[in-house]
Structure formats: structure tokens, C-alpha cells
């Protein structure tokens, strides 16, 4: 096969910040003082903080070099399953940096902040429309934060019905955030096993659901990339026992314009704007995890939310049944602006098409690789497909080895070892923004890696070879944690 795009280039080394610089340098402009110096109680005064002093050029080179050791969606294909690493449009960055929006203070009266409130109000409506649900809070700062908000709403709802519930059903394919979020609200997670087809059975839910169970958290499509066909029946069972249905919208990119979450029986759903709605993930965040709910649950949403009063946009101040606040202000507003811009750029047709092409890309990969890698659930998938390393076991090659080898070929590896129910899982989510040629090259590379696994397995075990660093000793990092640089003598 043709070589991948991975090649060795000139990688510049760069020390840690405090290993460079010289006392007295300055990397930014500080205004001259136009006021007299004021006295300060010595008891309150600290010793100078031990930051390295760097010039502006020092700082620019430092971070530019660091950036060159990184790989982003702009660098190449990033098929990280469950993370929806689609292209992050540049124009959205510009909108978020609009001076009037970027300078907006979050505590002024509504009349002075109409623009930002308009964006919030319209985005709330767009997200309600897109999911089929009735009301939206934009406050949660990430997916897991949305889950927590959802669980707080579950709690408030049951409390309002004088119902004490202690358990919650969570499928074995769920992200770890689901049980962790539920536990924050005191719910004990009851594991729901998926069947031999990787899906939930309504019969199992019927057996476990009772009046001490707050409801169910489900991800649909699930983390195997499969649409839960019985979701409606499951929701009916849960509702019949007075429970609620939480939808983890991490995988919404598969079903835009196809699935209606209200019709699926979902009562609360979070969206990950940094997945489905193209906002950049920033090497860890910020994300945004708006929560969409049915009319019945609207009273419990966090405050404040934006609303429209005639021609004026306002923030509601208080609502008696609200769970309160989950964020200091209005969530990650800058991320909201990017998602808003994305929706306006795509329009209804574009969003629908995005899901169609995301699903097409995933199925195309599944079909082309199904004879090369073990496919534990062989049916057609939605936006991602999950393989395993079972066929490579005989050569003593693992999923990790194959993932690391992809790096040498210039691809970011897929998600590995998740979902937990697939041993040695390789979870591939190409997203719609990858073109056929790049996907073909990815497929060819995966096949080449499978060949290497058989014929030259050491190439995989020793991969990656051309990255800035080779495999790192994670055991040492955890046994003797070194989480900060040295404290210099002056500080002690």
C-alpha cells in the first residue's frame, strides 16, 4: 500500500517554562501607573510568586513548539469513537470573538445585554426544535454537567411527587459519567445488561423497574453505535412505574432530523455541543452540555434562562421549583455562540445531511474492515462501529499496539477498550466531515496494520516510532506521582 501521511519531520525540543527565562524579563505589556502607590498591611502581603520571567518571544516560541507536538482535527483524521471529532469551522471562532459579545459582563441588567440574550433565546429554541423536546437550559458546561443537571431534575421531580427513589437503571454500555452523575444525587446504579445483539431488552427493564427506581439513563444510539430499537417500549415501562427517562445525547450526531427524542420517550436529554454541534474540544474542554426537557419538567430547569417579553429579551430571575444554579453565570457562553453559528450555517438540510453522511462513513468502514477485524455485533451501525482485537490475539498483538501503530501512519487512534462489554474494543467514529479518499486511506492503513500484526508484530509492539516521544511509563507516573515542577529554594 501507499504510505500513510505519517512521516518524521523536524521536531524541536522545548524545555519547561521554568527551565528558561531570566529574572526581569516581561512577556506582556503592563500599563504605567497613573495613581499613587497605596500602603498595604505587611501582614497581608505575600512573598513574590515564583513564576519564570520570559520575554514575549520566549513565550511565543514555547507554545508554538508545544503546539507542534499535538494533533488536532485540523491536522488529520481523528476517528475517536463517542467523541464526534468533526471539523470545527473557523468562522465560528470569529463569531465567538465578536468584541461586543466577548466583552459582555454577565451581571448587567437585561436591557444592556440584548444581543447575548437573543443568542441564548434563539439557541434554546433551535435545540428544542432539533431534539423534539420542549424547553432548554444552556447552563451546563459539559456533557457530564448536563447529566448531573438531569439527575437533579429527576430528584426534584420525584420530590415534588412525594416519592422517594433510591435507584436508577444504567446499561452496561454506558459512559462512566452516567453512574458517577447519578451517584452525586444519591442514586444507586442498577446495571442493565445488553442482549446478544448489543441492545437493551424491554423485558429486562420490566423486571428491574420498580417504584423505588428513579428511572433510566440511556445513550441512544448506544456506545456500540446501535439504535435502541425498543426505546419506546422501555420508556413506557419506566413511565408506568412513575420513573423518568434520561437520554445521554453524546451520540446525537447519528440521528439529527431522523429521531424525535420526545417520541422516543425521553424526558431529559443533554447535548454535547462540542460533539454534535462542531465546537472545538480544546484538548479537554470547554464543552457545553445543554439540557432539553419535556413541558412537564420545564419548571425544574436551572435558572436563569433567556425568554422573550414582547420585543425585549430577558433573563428570568427565579422560579420556585427550579433546581437552582449549576454554574456561576450562564454556562460556557462562548461555546454557545459557536454552536449557534454552526446551526445557522448548516440549516435544517445541512444538519440532516451531516447525520446521513456520518452514518454512511461509519457503515462504509464497518463493511470494508469486517473481514480484517473481529466485529462482535455484525449488524449495520449508526455513526460508529466497534471492532475488537480477537483476530490478532494469536499474534500476541493487542488493540493498544494497533492503536499506537496508527500514530506512525498519521492517524489519531480510535477510542480503545470502550465500551467495556467488548474485550479489546476499537471504536471508530469517522464523522461526516471526512471525505471518501481519507477514509479509504484509513481503511487501507488498518488493513496494512492487520498484515503487520501477522507478519511483523514487533512493528506494532514498538509503535509509535516517529512521534515526539515513544510509549510512556504510565505505571511509574501513577506509582510516584509528579504533578508539578520543582519548588525552587526561594519559595520555601
Amino acid at each position: 500500500m501507499k504510505n500513510g501521511v505519517g512521516t518524521s519531520g523536524l521536531i524541536l525540543d522545548e524545555p519547561l517554562l521554568w527551565e528558561k527565562g531570566k529574572k526581569g524579563r516581561k512577556g506582556m505589556s503592563i500599563p504605567h501607573s497613573d495613581v499613587p502607590q497605596a500602603p498595604l498591611d505587611e501582614e497581608l502581603t505575600g512573598t513574590p510568586v515564583d513564576f519564570p520571567d520570559l520575554s514575549e518571544v520566549d513565550v511565543v516560541r514555547h507554545y508554538t513548539r508545544l503546539s507542534q507536538w499535538n494533533f488536532g482535527v485540523d491536522s488529520g483524521m481523528y476517528p475517536l469513537g463517542s467523541c464526534t471529532m468533526k471539523y470545527n469551522p473557523k468562522i465560528n471562532e470569529k463569531q465567538a470573538a465578536t468584541p461586543q459579545l466577548a466583552a459582555a459582563h454577565p451581571m448587567l441588567d437585561d436591557q444592556y445585554s440584548q444581543g447575548v440574550l437573543q443568542i441564548m433565546y434563539e439557541l434554546q429554541n433551535y435545540l428544542a426544535d432539533i431534539t423534539g423536546l420542549d424547553a432548554v437550559s444552556l447552563q451546563p458546561a459539559a456533557g457530564a454537567h448536563g447529566e448531573l443537571t438531569g439527575m437533579l431534575i429527576f430528584n426534584a421531580y420525584h420530590q415534588s411527587h412525594d416519592s422517594k427513589r433510591t435507584k436508577i437503571l444504567i446499561p452496561d454500555t454506558a459512559h462512566g459519567t452516567n453512574p458517577a452523575s447519578a451517584a452525586l444525587c444519591g442514586y444507586r446504579a442498577i446495571a442493565l445488561k445488553s442482549n446478544e445483539n448489543g441492545m437493551l431488552d424491554a423485558a429486562d427493564v420490566r423486571e428491574l423497574m420498580d417504584e423505588e427506581t428513579a428511572g433510566i439513563m440511556l445513550t441512544n444510539p448506544n456506545t456500540l453505535g446501535l439504535f435502541e430499537g425498543q426505546v419506546r417500549q422501555i420508556a413506557d415501562i419506566v413511565h408506568a412505574k412513575g420513573g423518568l427517562v434520561y437520554g445521554d445525547g453524546a451520540n446525537m450526531n447519528a440521528v439529527l432530523g431522523v429521531a424525535d427524542m420526545k417520541k422516543c420517550g425521553v424526558d431529559v436529554l443533554h447535548l454535547n455541543l462540542h460533539k454534535t454541534f462542531s465546537t472545538p474540544h480544546g484538548g479537554g474542554g470547554p464543552g457545553a452540555g445543554p439540557v432539553c426537557v419535556t413541558k412537564e419538567l420545564e419548571p425544574f430547569l436551572p435558572v436563569p434562562r433567556a425568554w422573550k417579553d414582547g420585543d425585549i429579551y430577558r433573563l428570568e430571575q427565579d422560579r420556585k421549583d427550579s433546581i437552582g444554579r449549576v454554574h456561576g453565570f450562564h454556562g460556557n457562553f462562548g461555546v454557545l455562540v459557536r454552536a449557534y453559528s454552526y446551526i445557522l450555517s448548516m440549516g435544517a438540510e445541512g444538519l440532516r445531511k451531516a447525520s446521513q453522511l456520518a452514518v454512511l462513513n461509519a457503515n462504509y468502514i464497518r463493511e470494508q474492515l469486517k473481514d480484517t477485524f473481529h466485529l462482535p455485533y455484525p449488524q449495520p451501525c449508526m455513526h460508529e462501529c466497534v471492532f475488537s482485537d480477537q483476530l490478532q490475539k494469536d499474534y500476541k498483538v493487542t488493540t493498544l499496539d494497533m492503536a499506537k501503530r496508527l500514530i506512525d501512519y498519521g492517524f489519531h487512534p480510535p477510542t480503545i477498550y470502550f465500551p467495556l462489554i467488548v474485550h479489546g474494543a476499537i471504536m471508530i467514529e469517522p464523522t461526516e466531515t471526512e471525505c471518501k479518499e481519507d477514509i479509504d486511506q484509513f481503511i487501507a492503513t488498518m488493513k496494512e496494520i492487520a498484515r503487520e500484526a501477522k507478519e511483523e508484530p514487533d512493528k506494532l509492539r514498538n509503535a509509535p516510532q516517529i512521534s515526539k516521544v515513544r510509549r510512556l511509563d504510565e505505571v511509574q507516573a501513577a506509582r510516584c506521582p509528579c504533578l508539578t515542577g520543582p519548588t525552587l529554594p526561594a519559595e520555601q
Binding site: 458517577a180 431522523v258 446521513q356
Partner: protein, 444 residues
Amino acid sequence: MRYLPHTQEDITAMLQVTGNKSLEDLFSGIPDSCRMTNEWQLPEPKTEWELNDHMQAIAQTMKVDQNFKVLIGAGSNHHHIPETVKALMSRSEFLTAYTPYQPEMAQGTLQGIFEYQTLTARLLGMDVVNASMYDGASAFAEALLMGLRIGKKKTKVAVSAAIHPHYRATAAAYLHPTEFELIELPYLEDGRTDLSGLSGLQDVAAVALQSPNFFGVIEDLAGAAQAIHEQQALFITCFSEPLAYGLLKNPGKCGADIVCGEGQSFGLARSFGGPGLGMFGCRQPFTRNLPGRLVGETKDLDGKRGYVLTLATREQHIRREKATSNICSNQGICAMTAGMYMASLGGTGLRELSRLNYDKAQYLKNALIARGARLFFEAPIFNEFVVEFPHDFQPAHQRLLEQGIVAGLELSKLYPELKGRYLFGITETTSRQDMDRVADEVQS
């Protein structure tokens, strides 16, 4: 649509491989009963140029825009952001990466976060700082939960009423479904927290103070530490203006066990309150109780220095319901940005800038006092303070608005008992001239 690369030819070829008749056919597994039948009410798609126009039109409706002098902090501070920081944090190798799950491809993010952890630890006087939380408010809620975890069987936490009201509200929402009790400690006449009630309390896992607090007042952290530790409780401190520790004694030195707060001041725009940066640190013995991600140093196969995510067994993806927090995505690029900002300032610059903020705030404070206003809380302040005017300040506030100055935040919505008093926030961006204009309005 320019983000979607597929030609009709590609689609046809790919459908042939997957064995589907059409794109719609790919969704045949979705039952009819779950299908979207509503027509979406979304606007027609906009070109790049139409989108620019649309956003410009919205931006124009912001009565208080970037040209205004907003003399309010209250958890969202206006500081200069160097162009270098904006340019570097926009590098798409940083911006368009995911969480660094594959360290060989993410050494830039990992080293950058390690540096952020280190500089922040030095600033706060903590042994360990995590890779970030969502914001000051959620970090505060998580700090209380951490205090309760460490306190094992204790069921109460006490928090100062001078902590940002939104932080307290967030903590209340987080704690509401639990059995834990949140107790409020009142503030004294001088604006500091009244700790006298502490000795009567039993079962308190942690006590939390903000310094400088919501009123801008510098708390007596060292004194508080002693009183709190005598009660066998943990001492949590929070902040909304990290720049203060460029000048003031840091919380670690004063005896804090867990420190958290909002890092927006370090290179992030106010942006209507987000994205900000939840800074979070603790003393070393509590490391395994920390929420959130941690980057650690290690070596690669060749013995070369490198960085990885570590101590992940605390986290949700491994420990699930027993995790120290449910947090997954954090504020990665915001932490990187704060690192860039701290690197740009340096120790020397930090001291100078912090001093400048302090001096300017004292200037306005003194100017207002000279014109007949009263400093409402008399304990020392950093760059925010509360004043009471001799007569209704609202008309002057309105006149100043017309001149492009937002002169403080009236406090009645947040503290009904402080009706008519104003909280001012001053930074290096406020000129003497602007401050004089505010003072002159008081007199007239």
C-alpha cells in the same frame, strides 16, 4: 455545504459498498414511532458573509459594548489580554484536539497543562492543582463535596455569606439531593466573616471562606485557619480574582487545605460569564480525593521526559459511581490560556500588575470617600469594594452610563440588606480619568 465533502458520486459508490439503496435506507433500524416528523423551524442556512452580517446586527444591540468602562468585577473581571495569548491559544493543534488520551500525539497539551498545574500551585501555595474544573462556582461545590469525602462521617459544611452568591447557590444545588447540611456563616460589620459561631457546631467536615471575598474584602485567612483546624475541620478557600495572590499572602501559606476559584482573570474574555476556568488545588495528602484530571511527568521507553494523564483511578471512566467526581470534559484550552498568561506575566510582571490593581482600587475608594461616600466594609480590600453614597446614586449611575461608564453593581438583588450600596471593581484597565469622572458625579 462546504463542511460536507461527499459528492453524489462518492455517496453512490459508498452506498453500493454498504448495500443500501439510499441515505435514508441507512436508518431503517429506527422504528417509525421514534421518527422526527415535525418540520424544523430553523432559518435558511447562511453563507459565511450572511452569518457575519447577522452576528454584527446582534452585536449592535449590545447597549453596553466593548467600549464601555465596566467598573464591575463580581466574578467576571476585565483585564487586558495580550495578543500573543489570543494567538497562541487559537493554534488549532491545541484547539481542535480532544482530551489527551494518546499521550504520544498530545505532548503539547500535556506539557502545557503540567506547566499550568505548576504555576497555579505556586500562585495558590498548594502542593497539587488539577487540570481544571468548569468554573469557580462548580469548583466550589466540588470542593465542599471533597471536604465531606475526606471528613468521612461528618455531615456538615459551613460557608461564609461573603462568598459569591452564585457560588453558594451552585453549591446548594449540588448538595440538595444529599443528606449533607450547608450552614451559612454571617459576615461582620467590617465585611469579614464571623467565625464565632463555629465553636458551637458539631460534625463539620469543612469551612469555606472566599478571599478577597465577594465584597472585595481580604479575609484574615491565617486566623481563620487556626480557628477552623481547632474544630478538626478542613479549611477551604475560594476566590474570583486570582490576581490578588500576586500581592497578597496566598491561601496555602495561610493554612488552607483545599483552594478553588475562578481563573477567568488570566487571559480569558468575560464572554457573558463563560467559558471561565475552575482552578482547583489541595495539599498533597488529599491528592487521591481530588476531582478532575491530573497530568504527571514520566519517561518514555528511551528514557525521554514526557507527560501523561495520571491517577485516573479516581475518575468516572474507571471508578464509575465511586469516582471522586463525574467530571469528564473540563476547561482544557482555558487552563492552557491561563498558563500562557501566567508565563507572559512572569513573577515580576505578576507583582507589578497585582500592585497596579490594588493601587487603582484604593485610588477610587479614596476619591469616593473624599466626595462624601462611605466605605461600607472597612476591612482591607484588594481591587473591589462596597460603598454607600450620601444620597441615591441611581441618577448618577444613569448619567455615567450615558458617558460610557458602568459605575458599580447595585447589590439589592444579591443581598437585599445591602440595597442602595454599590460594589465597584477596578483593574489595570481603568484609567484615573475615568475614576475621576465617577467621583465627580458623586459630588454633583
